[in-house]
């Protein structure tokens, strides 16, 4: 018997078993669509945590010890959204008798405001302005110095030390200790120019691999140190991995339950037709042809339903990717969602191929027993069993 005729029979069986095909198809469509959506949501959650953590201030890649004459544009690469030029130097802040040692980070306020979200965490006053002799302090440092917005703090810059008076323009709180303790911000040009400790924060587009970019940067002929967020935020890296693993476990568990339903439904779908397989066997259909027919029926239905399910899942992801899923109420006190609690689900090749592949696998596994039954039993036994 020609394969084309067997495929035609499989198509006719799937097409003309309308109710069974519809019910089983809907099961697969819903399962696949749910899994595509869930896996995209997991990716979106990880994206949101990374975006929040690096977007607050640090950037995806930090370059330290850069040459003072380096143009930040030289760090531009495809996939790089922004390069922010910064200097860091240890200073002492003095207000009356109170002294606090901090790392003073000098920034270009207008560029920082456009690319980072630290300014959004202002709780009092406002963010820095270009060239102004101002200081942007964390609430914790302001408390230690007993200062508030509008007061002046003396900045002692070693060696020397040189002393510069800066007024406090704003106070912020992030809930992240590395930004709340031991650090202060000032605009570049508000202080005597630094001679060393030039650094840059590189912000990359979503979907760009930081490790690839890092490898490129490390080939540059500077004695600089380039570090990706995974290295300077190992806690976030672990959390992302943990999220991936736990989501994968959830997906496997969900799919195991769904797959059991799909497998049972497939067995019923094939057994419903078992009399027909007995007739075909009585007519001289070879065991291999019977197996091919069953496999073709399962594959056709699974492929059609999986494609629809993947499309439906992708549509749902696409719709939600525009507006995002606002979970601010659940994330407002979480440091990894310090900027925004909105999650934008994102499709990946993994989330697109895994659910259909799993449904095809479980469908074919479900077909094994009926296929073996048809192959092993005599035609009369199959016809008698119905």
């Amino acid at each position: 018997m020609k394969i084309g005729f067997i495929l035609k029979m499989a198509v006719l069986y799937v097409w003309r078993s309308r109710r069974s095909t519809l019910v089983l198809g809907l099961m697969i469509i819903m399962a696949v669509a749910a899994l595509v959506f869930l896996s995209s949501l997991a990716v979106g959650t990880n994206d949101a945590m990374i975006r929040n953590s690096v977007g607050l201030f640090s950037g995806h890649i930090v370059a330290d010890n850069l040459p003072p004459d380096l143009d930040p544009a030289q760090l531009q690469r495809p996939g790089v959204r922004e390069v922010l030029w910064r200097t860091r130097r240890p200073v002492r802040l003095r207000h009356q008798e109170r002294v606090e040692s901090v790392l003073l980070c000098e920034v270009r306020p207008s560029e920082e405001k456009a690319a980072t979200a630290l300014w959004k965490k202002t709780v009092s006053g406002r963010y820095l302005r270009d060239g102004r002799p101002e200081l942007f302090l964390s609430g914790a440092v302001a408390d230690l110095l007993h200062v508030s917005v509008g007061q002046t703090v003396e900045v002692e810059i070693p060696p020397g030390p040189q002393r510069v008076a800066l007024s406090i323009c704003g106070i912020y709180r992030t809930g992240i200790s590395s930004l709340d303790y031991g650090i202060a911000f000032a605009a570049q040009n508000a202080l005597p120019a630094a001679e060393s400790n030039f650094s840059a924060a590189v912000f990359i587009e979503e979907g760009t691999d930081p490790q690839t970019l890092l490898a490129e940067y490390r080939r540059l002929p500077y004695a600089s140190r380039f570090t990706a967020w995974m290295d300077f935020m190992p806690d976030l890296k672990q959390l992302v991995e943990l999220n991936f693993v736990s989501m994968s476990i959830v997906m496997v568990l969900v799919f195991a339950v769904v797959a059991l339903g799909i497998s049972c439904a497939f067995i019923i779908f094939i057994l419903k037709n078992i009399r027909e397989h007995g007739i075909l066997k009585a007519m001289g259909m070879l065991p291999s042809e019977s197996v091919l027919l069953i496999v073709a029926e399962v594959t056709l239905l699974t492929l059609a339903a999986s494609a629809t399910g993947t499309g439906a899942g992708a549509l749902a992801v696409g719709a939600l990717a525009r507006t995002g899923l606002d979970l601010t109420a659940l994330t407002s006190h979480n440091q990894y969602f310090a900027v925004s609690g909105v999650i934008f689900p994102r499709l990946t090749p993994y989330s697109l191929w895994l659910p259909p592949a799993l449904s095809l696998l479980f469908g074919l596994l479900a077909a094994v027993w009926p296929a073996l039954y048809v192959v092993r039993e005599k035609a009369a036994e199959i016809l008698r069993s119905i």
Binding site: K2, R16, M283, P287
Partner: protein, 221 residues
């Protein structure tokens, strides 16, 4: 043409061991219209199933054209069934998801006949059984008589040497049954096909060249 020798077949069921055929031996000549008669449960269906290769006997031999069909490999037996045998089941047993034309094309496709030839032969068969306009109908749209006519046409579509019919008139009224029997006998004679019919219908038995009367799996003399 068909030689059945010392055939035994028993089944184990909830009622214990049931002997369906007990040492049955007979011969059917080529082109003969041979009726296996007997009451329900006498072993008619089991005998036809064994001859058609649908069932394996416990002991004994069935030779068709000198070949013991139950000594054939699974593949060779399938080839024998698709090439040499046509089977008309009691309930027609048309494939529910195929149209009448597709059902008729099935044995032709199994025998590797190309699509154009299949179409032509299906048209001829539909004409022969008097259902030229029923090609696109699905089995559930047919009456009992039409179903059995299509089942018969499917059984002879590939011009088999042996045509087995298990109680073909059992689900039909007497007039429709008589029409079907007439069609079966005339067409099988015309095609020089050996016809073996299991039936307890006197209308069918009357057409027989030879008959075998079964009782409790044995030949009743």
């Amino acid at each position: 043409m068909i030689e059945v020798q010392a055939l035994y077949k028993s089944f184990t069921s909830g009622r214990g061991k049931v002997t369906a055929l007990e040492g049955l031996s007979f011969k059917v000549a080529k082109g003969e219209n041979f009726i296996v008669a007997g009451k329900s449960g006498s072993g008619k269906t089991t005998l036809l199933n064994c001859i058609g290769g649908l069932e394996t006997p416990d002991r004994g031999a069935i030779r068709c054209g000198g070949v013991d069909i139950h000594r054939l490999s699974r593949k060779a037996l399938a080839r024998f069934q698709r090439e040499q045998v046509g089977f008309v089941f009691q309930q027609g047993n048309l494939l529910s998801y195929l149209t009448v034309s597709e059902n008729l094309a099935l044995p032709l496709a199994l025998n590797g006949i190309d699509a154009d030839d299949r179409k032509r032969r299906v048209r001829e068969l539909l004409e022969t059984i008097g259902l030229p306009d029923h090609g696109a109908a699905l089995p559930w749209e047919l009456s009992g008589g039409e179903t059995q006519r299509v089942a018969f046409a499917r059984a002879i579509a590939h011009a088999p040497a042996i045509l087995l019919a298990d109680e073909p008139t059992a689900s039909l009224d007497s007039a429709t049954g008589a029409q079907l029997v007439q069609l079966m006998v005339s067409l099988s004679r015309q095609r020089r096909c050996t016809l073996l019919v299991a039936s307890h219908d006197p209308e069918v038995i009357r057409t027989a060249d030879h008959q075998l009367l079964l009782k409790d799996g044995r030949k009743e003399s």
